[in-house]
C-alpha cells in the first residue's frame, strides 16, 4: 500500500516537473516563463546575497520568476562556462564579475573553454570596490606612508588575495611608480582570513571588499587607506581612490553585471537592460543593497562593454610584464 502511493507520488512529481519545462511554441512577449540566472559563486557570499535580492526585485518588474542557480567553482569560471554554452533565448542569464568574463587573461591559472567574446553584456548593476586597510594601531596615516615605510624602514607584509589577482596587480602598479620593492605578498584565501591576519598583527596591511569595512572602522579596529579602483564611496568621501593618488592602473571598476550568452536577440537584451535600470532605481533594492554596504551602480550595455574591454587590455599588458 505504502509502496504504491510512493510510486504514484513520484510519477506525479515527475509529471509536474516535466510540464514546467515545455517550451512555449508561439512568439510571445518576453519573458513568458521563468528565467534562470546563474550565479557563479557558492551560496552565502555577498555577491550571492546581492544576486538573490536582484532576482527578487527583477521578478517584480518583468512579472516572471527569476530563479537563482548557483554554479560555483574554479574562481567563478565554471558558472561562466555554463552560461556561454546555454541557449541564447533570454531564459538563461548570469551575473558575472571581471574574473569570470575575462578568464582568457588568466590562462596560466585556469583552463577555460570560452572567451569574453561569447557573452553579451546586458548591464552593470553593482560593483565591489576593494579597499586597502591596516589595523587601527599602525602608524600609517595614508596609503603613501605604507609605501614610504617599505622604502625606508624595510620589509612590509601585505595580506593579498593571491598572485595575479587584480588588487595585487594594482598594488604592483603603485609600487613600480614609487620605486618600492620590499613589500612581501602573503596570499590568503578570502576576505575573512585577510581580516583576521591584519587584525591579529600577522600582516601590516591588507585588502578586503569595502562592504566589510564600515563596522570595523566605526569600532576603531581598522583604518581604510585607499580604494583600489576609481570608485568613490559616497558615505566616506575622505577615503581616496588609487586614481586620485596618481596610480592609474587601468582597472577602473570591479563590475558585477548581468551577461547573456552571445546570440541572444537584441530585443530581449534591450528589455533586460531597461528592467535592470528599473531595479537599480527601486527603493527596496537600494535600501537592501545599502544595508549590505553593497554599491548600486548602473551602467548600460555599451558602457559595461567599454569597461570590460579596457580591463582586458590592462590584463594583457600586465601579463606581458610578467606580473600575472
Amino acid at each position: 500500500m505504502k509502496k504504491k502511493s510512493l510510486v504514484l507520488m513520484t510519477i506525479g512529481v515527475l509529471m509536474l516537473v516535466g510540464s514546467l519545462e515545455i517550451p512555449t511554441m508561439a512568439q510571445e512577449a518576453y519573458p513568458s516563463r521563468a528565467v534562470t540566472t546563474i550565479i557563479p559563486w557558492p551560496p552565502g557570499g555577498g555577491t550571492d546575497s546581492a544576486g538573490r535580492i536582484f532576482a527578487e526585485v527583477m521578478t517584480k518588474y518583468l512579472k516572471q520568476p527569476f530563479v537563482v542557480l548557483n554554479k560555483p567553482g574554479a574562481s567563478s569560471t565554471l558558472g561562466a562556462s555554463a552560461l556561454a554554452k546555454s541557449k541564447p533565448d533570454g531564459y538563461t542569464l548570469g551575473h558575472l564579475g571581471s574574473t569570470a568574463t575575462l578568464a582568457e587573461c588568466f590562462t596560466k591559472y585556469f583552463t577555460t573553454d570560452y572567451t569574453s567574446e561569447e557573452f553579451v553584456p546586458v548591464a552593470q548593476w553593482s560593483g565591489y570596490p576593494p579597499v586597502y586597510f591596516c589595523e587601527a594601531g599602525k602608524p600609517y596615516k595614508s596609503f603613501k606612508e605604507v609605501l614610504q615605510s617599505a622604502k625606508t624602514k624595510g620589509e612590509v607584509l601585505f595580506a593579498s588575495r593571491g598572485r595575479g589577482e587584480a588588487t595585487s596587480l594594482i598594488l604592483h602598479v603603485a609600487m613600480e611608480k614609487e620605486g618600492v620593492k620590499n613589500i612581501r605578498f602573503v596570499p590568503f584565501k578570502g576576505d575573512s582570513e585577510i581580516l583576521s591576519a591584519v587584525l591579529g598583527g600577522h600582516a601590516d596591511f591588507g585588502v578586503i571588499t569595502f562592504s566589510l569595512a564600515p563596522p570595523l572602522m566605526a569600532a576603531g579596529k581598522i583604518k581604510s587607506l585607499a580604494i583600489a579602483t576609481q570608485d568613490k564611496i559616497p558615505a566616506y568621501p575622505d577615503i581616496p581612490n588609487m586614481y586620485e593618488l596618481g596610480y592609474q592602473s587601468g582597472i577602473r571598476q570591479f563590475y558585477l553585471g548581468m551577461f547573456a550568452p552571445k546570440g541572444t536577440p537584441e530585443g530581449i537584451v534591450k528589455i533586460l537592460e531597461k528592467a535592470t535600470e528599473q531595479v537599480t532605481m527601486d527603493p527596496t533594492f537600494q535600501s537592501r543593497m545599502n544595508n549590505m554596504n553593497q554599491p548600486v551602480i548602473f551602467k548600460n550595455s555599451e558602457q559595461l562593454n567599454g569597461i570590460v574591454q579596457e580591463m582586458k587590455k590592462t590584463y594583457f599588458e600586465m601579463a606581458q610584464k610578467g606580473l600575472m
Binding site: P42, P43, G44, G45, G46, D48, S49, R52, I53, E56, L69, N70, K71, P72, G73, A74, S75, T77, L78, S81, K108, Y109, F110, T111, T112, D113, E155, L157, G162, R163, G164, R184, F185, V186, P187, F188, K189, S192, E193, L195, S196, A197, L199, G200, G201, H202, A203, S211, L212, P214, P215, L216, A218, A219, K221, S287, R288, N291, M292, N293
Partner: protein, 498 residues
C-alpha cells in the same frame, strides 16, 4: 558585559513568533543534517529570501537554528548506514555504525543526542561569558600557529586506525596527495588537474566522503548483506543505559571544552575537534581495543565536540564581525540585508539581537533534544527496511546530495569513482577515515606552512619564535615519539612472544 541588557535579550526568544521560527529552524536543520550531502549552507541560502519579511532577530534565530540543528542530525546516517551526514560526523561512523551492527543503534543515537545537547549548551554558556576575550585570543592564531596546531593533529591521525598501522599511514599519505589536486593557493597554478575545469577546483569533500563511505557501503552489501543483530535480537533499550552513561560522561565533558575552543578557530574547527576528541578518548581509555568495534566513548566524545564547535564558531562573528566559516558568512550576509552589522559594536547598538540569538540557542538546543529523542525509535526502524529497498535509496540520496552541491555532473562521476576505490580499499583492509581526515587537513597544513615561510622570508625560526606555535610543536614531537615508542614495543613484544 552589561547583564541588565541580558534579561530583555533573553526574553526575546519567548515571543511566540520567535519560538515558532526557532522550532522551524532546528527542525529543518535536523532534516538536512540527516540527508547526506545536503548541508546547512545550501539550505540557508535558499531560505534566505523568506527571511526578508521578518525582523532581523527572528531571521537570525531561524538561520542559526538550521546550522546547529544540522550538527545534531549529522550523526544519524553515520550511525545507521555508515555515511557521514556532515564532515564533522566522519569519525562517528567508526564506532557508531559498529554499535548499530551490534544492535545498539538506539543507545548510540541517544548518546549522540545527549552529548550534542550538553556540548551545545556548554558552548552557549561559554559564548555568553567569554565572547570578547576569546575573540581576541583567536586573532593570535596566525599562519605559524595554525601550522603547528595542524601538525599536532596530523601526529594523532594514526590513532584512528583500528587495524594495521602501516595501512593507516598509507591512507594518510593518499589523503594528503588527493588534497593537492586543484589550484595551488600560493602560486595560483593548477596541480594534477589534467586540463579539467572540475579538477581545477580540487576534489570536493562531499563526493569523496560519500563515495568512500556511502557508495562503497552499498557495493559491499551487494555481495550479501551484513548480519545485523538488530533483526534477530530484541532491542533491549532505545536510550543509553546507566552503564553507557558512566562510560560517556568523561568523553562528553572533555568533548565540550575541546570542541568549543577549537570551534573558535577558522577553517575546519568542528572537524578537527571531532577527531581529536576521538583520539584522546582512545588514548586514555582502559580498553582501547574496543574502539572501532563499537565503543560508546567513540560516539559520545566526537558528537559532543562537533556541537560545542558549532557554538564556538559564533565567537568571531558576534565579537568581531569576521565569519570563521561559510555558514557564518551566510549569517553575516543575512544580518546585513536587514541593516544589522555584526561586529564589535553590535552588542551596544543592537543588544536585543546579540542576546536574542544567544538565548534562542538555549531554547533551540532543548527543542532539538526533545525532537531527536522520539525520533530515535523511528530511525531504528529504518534499519528494519530490507536491503533491497534501503540500498537503492541510500544510493539515490548520495547522488542527489552530491549533485545539489554545485549542480555539477562531474561531482557524481567523482563520487562513483571514489565509491569503487573505497570498495577495493575495504576488501584490502585499508580504512577510509584516516584518508578523509588527512584530505581535510592537507590544505591547511600546506597553505599555513607556506604562508608562514613567506612571512618570515624563508626562515624556519618563525615556528619556534612564536610561543603558541612552539608549544604546539613540542606537544607534536612528544606525541610522535611516544606513539613511535609504543608501536616499537608492541612490535618487539610480538616478535619476542613468537
Amino acid at each position: 558585559m552589561n547583564f541588565m541588557e541580558l534579561l530583555p535579550g533573553l526574553l526575546v526568544i519567548f515571543e511566540p513568533l520567535n519560538l515558532l521560527y526557532c522550532f522551524a529552524g532546528v527542525f529543518i536543520g535536523t532534516l538536512i543534517g540527516v540527508l547526506p550531502g545536503i548541508g546547512p549552507v545550501g539550505t540557508m541560502s535558499i531560505l534566505l529570501p523568506t527571511t526578508f519579511g521578518l525582523s532581523p532577530v527572528t531571521a537570525i534565530i531561524m538561520l542559526a537554528g538550521i546550522y546547529y540543528g544540522s550538527m545534531y542530525g549529522g550523526s544519524t546516517t553515520s550511525i545507521l548506514v555508515n555515511i557521514p551526514g556532515e564532515a564533522a560526523s566522519v569519525v562517528t561512523c567508526l564506532d557508531g555504525y559498529q554499535m548499530a551492527l551490534k544492535g545498539q543503534a538506539g543507545p548510540a543515537l541517544g548518546i549522540a543526542a545527549f552529548g550534542s545537547f550538553i556540548g551545545g549548551t556548554f558552548s552557549i554558556l561559554a559564548l555568553m561569558f567569554l565572547v570578547f576575550p576569546l575573540a581576541s585570543a583567536a586573532l593570535k592564531f596566525g599562519p605559524p600557529e595554525y601550522f603547528s596546531l595542524v601538525c599536532m593533529s596530523m601526529t594523532i591521525l594514526i590513532y584512528l586506525a583500528k587495524g594495521s598501522v602501516s595501512h593507516a599511514v598509507i591512507m594518510i599519505l593518499v589523503g594528503l596527495l588527493l588534497s593537492t589536486v586543484g589550484i595551488d593557493m600560493i602560486s595560483g597554478i593548477a596541480r594534477f588537474a589534467f586540463g579539467s575545469a572540475t579538477l581545477t577546483d580540487g576534489i570536493g569533500l562531499v563526493p569523496l566522503a560519500m563515495g568512500l563511505f556511502g557508495i562503497s557501503e552499498v557495493l559491499t552489501n551487494l555481495e550479501g548483506p551484513l548480519e545485523r543483530n538488530l533483526l534477530k535480537t530484541k532491542i533491549t533499550g532505545l536510550l543509553p543505559s546507566l552503564q553507557d552513561w558512566r562510560r560517556s560522561i568523561g568523553p562528553i565533558t572533555r568533548g565540550s571544552i575541546l570542541g568549543f575552543l577549537l570551534g573558535i578557530l577558522p577553517g575546519g574547527g568542528a572537524v578537527i575537534s571531532s577527531f581529536i576528541s576521538y583520539t584522546i578518548e582512545k588514548k586514555i581509555s582502559k580498553h582501547p581495543e574496543e574502539f572501532g568495534r563499537g565503543a560508546i566513548e567513540g560516539v559520545a566524545g566526537p558528537e559532543t565536540a562537533n556541537n560545542a564547535g558549532a557554538g564556538g564558531a559564533f565567537v568571531p562573528l558576534l565579537a568581531l564581525g569576521i565569519p570563521p566559516n561559510i555558514v557564518m558568512a551566510l549569517l553575516l550576509g543575512a544580518l546585513m540585508i536587514h541593516g544589522v552589522v555584526p561586529g564589535p559594536l553590535m552588542i551596544v547598538q543592537r543588544p536585543e539581537i546579540f542576546w536574542g540569538t544567544i538565548s534562542s540557542m538555549y531554547i533551540g538546543n532543548i527543542m532539538l533534544l526533545l525532537l531527536n529523542l522520539p525520533l530515535i525509535g523511528l530511525w531504528v526502524k529504518v534499519l528494519k527496511v530490507p536491503y533491497r529497498i534501503l540500498m537503492p535509496l541510500i544510493l539515490l540520496f548520495c547522488l542527489i546530495g552530491a549533485y545539489s552541491l554545485g549542480n555539477n555532473i562531474w561531482d557524481l562521476v567523482l563520487m562513483i569513482i571514489f565509491g569503487v576505490v573505497g570498495y577495493l580499499l575495504r576488501k584490502l583492509e585499508y580504512e577510509e577515515a584516516p584518508l578523509l581526515l588527512a584530505f581535510i587537513l592537507g590544505p591547511l597544513i600546506e597553505t599555513n606552512f607556506r604562508q608562514s615561510l613567506i612571512m618570515s622570508g624563508g626562515s624556519f625560526m618563525i615556528f619556534v619564535n612564536r610561543p603558541i606555535s612552539a608549544v604546539a610543536l613540542v606537544i607534536s614531537a612528544i606525541l610522535f615519539i611516544s606513539t613511535g615508542w609504543s608501536y616499537y614495543r608492541m612490535a618487539k613484544g610480538r616478535i619476542g612472544g613468537e
